[in-house]
Subunit: 172 residues, 2 copies
DNA sequence: TTGCAACAGTTTCAGATGAAACTAGCTTCA
DNA sequence: TGAAGCTAGTTTCATCTGAAACTGTTGCAA
């Protein structure tokens, strides 16, 4: 059935001496798999009904309130890098979802606003997005949802830390 | 303080008539951002010290016990698609991390085993991976870790459901 | 048998990606 | 001023990716 060698009273310390690791219990793997499934599902939703990608959706989401932002500000708020934002914007210009005018004070900054067409998509897509989110969390109790919120905040903060400082011991 | 808008009795019904959506509170977005940061950090770790990618690491992880699996089985256990697995395997063949021999009974299935070189990487990498995971969860209490485990299981199950059946109402 | 559908794995193709180089506009300070 | 160095955003390049097409193998059924 399961484990071939029964006696861990090893005489051989090196061959399989290391700790074992089950991928399905490894947090980075689990988060990645969850994210993939969720993103894929959501991407299909957006693409099928509105013909937009997730980067485009994110831009619509942050500009949906009618605000005007620069590409850099969009990058910050959507956690995308500037290249991704630049490309999404150029697609959105083609499909008349966004309006670009260069700023008066600083002509490097482009001021970006959604077109009515994009605002209409926003109005339609938000309920769908929220419905999906609701379905996703429908398996959770109210209390668990609160826990999830707290855990995600903590994990994100810690992950950000570790991304900057890979190994504390190596940086004295 | 949780919910920001208490009174839905808004005075402006059409301009932003749709429900608003804050990206930073939208679960799919949050999971995606977390996954990106974690994956990126982990990928750097694996690449820098061992010159392997995450797909390769996953294959090493599932074969690390010394098992022999087919590519299809690896795909299942690593949640990668067969193309990804195929490509990772061909890279690993080049770098002598994996051994491939065609099966006796079914010559379509290739039997894959790690080489000693890969097992050595496994032995080295597992402690690093577990250390990263431990650092990631070090911000959580013991109880929170248990909660996280339960929440991830529930969310994954639900996400899988929704991936298969996008909208229950449309499938009578 | 042979014909055909199903399966394992690979390759192709077209698009997505990120790092680094690049362009253009702004700021600083000698 | 004006050279040097920022910053915003774009483009290039090399790689990665997933869907679909393809190759070779097996199983089944007429």
């Amino acid at each position: 059935m399961a484990s071939p060698r029964r006696k861990p009273s090893d005489t051989e310390p090196s061959t399989t001496g290391a700790a074992k690791l089950h991928l399905t219990r490894f947090l980075p793997y689990r988060v990645s798999v969850l994210s993939n499934v969720v993103s894929h599902t959501v991407a299909k939703l957006y693409d099928k009904r509105f013909g937009i990608t997730i980067p485009e959706w994110r831009i619509i989401a942050v500009l949906g309130g009618g605000e005007t932002l620069s590409a850099g500000e969009i990058a910050q708020r959507t956690a995308m890098d500037k290249v991704q934002v630049s490309r999404a914007i150029s697609r959105m210009l083609d499909s008349a979802l966004i309006l670009r005018e260069s700023g008066d004070t600083d002509r490097r900054k482009a001021l970006l606003t959604l077109t009515p067409k994009a605002l209409a998509i926003y109005a339609e897509i938000v309920p769908l997005a929220l419905a999906y989110e609701a379905q996703l969390t429908s398996a959770l109790t109210e209390e668990e949802s609160v826990q999830l919120d707290r855990l995600l905040i903590k994990l994100q903060a810690q992950a950000d830390q570790l991304a900057v400082t890979p190994d504390p011991k190596n940086t004295p």
